[in-house]
Amino acid sequence: MNELSKNTFSSRSSLLLMEIILSILFFSLAGTVCLQMFVKAKLLEQDTAELDMAVRYVSSAAEFLNQPERTAESVAILYPAASVEGNTAFVWFKKDFSSCSQKEACYRLEIRVLQEDTHTAVWSAVLYTESPAEEIYRLEGTVYQPYTPQDRH
């Protein structure tokens, strides 16, 4: 009888232990899946916010560059802190997209205007992350300056 009770209790104990182990295992698995989803959601949200800002800044530059007679130097109208090298203007931004120097920059807006001929210019506006340098968003276009009667002479 004693042996029977001992066995019964022992089997109940191991059953309870097994149940607890399974519960912990299930909870751990569920927690891991949830955490992975949350991390992915957070990363996706950060990427979306970054892309959203990139679209905003690049679209603004595109709106500006679509006007005839724009050059890399004229980018200073939009961003007085822009640095111009040849036909390319660079604007650097902090994490919160406020203008800053190259040293403390997280993002770089690169605006290039190439004059193909007297009436045609090809431009591109690209926003990169600074390190590592990865392209976030790019817009390109061609702008034509209309011919005027003076151009015939």
Partner: protein, 161 residues
Amino acid sequence: MRFRTRSRHIIDLAFPIALFFVFAVSSLSILILAADIYASTASHLRINDENRTALSYIAEKIRQNDTNGAVSITSIDGIDCLAMSALYNEIPCTTYIYEYGGMMKELFINDGIPVSLKSGRDIMAISSLSMEQLEEQLWRFTTVDSDGNEDFLIAAGRSVP
């Protein structure tokens, strides 16, 4: 019978309670994490909803009315207004877009009639809308939503006066 009658050890009580607390803390952590991510996403959605909607509305209005240099920025009663002139049935009219009393408003009125800013039609709630003419036919609009988030739009006119 020895197992049935043995005295209960403190661990018999402490272990389930400890396990319960571990579960509770873990669940709470995951819940807080989820709530934080949800709040952050909702906040970005709200920024898009208020600022971007207002700026998109302005951009579309400018494109719609960009003829003969009809778009300009004017100040009425100290408030900057985006003014878009047009002829309707040969009658000169102007559409004004501005911020007044926490609302973005639009007022369509015949030229020559005194402008009353409070009479404009409400478009949407907005904390602030500022306008700046960067160059001829180049404007910068800045909006601030109810949470203090700022957004901007650069708009350029294509038409020639």
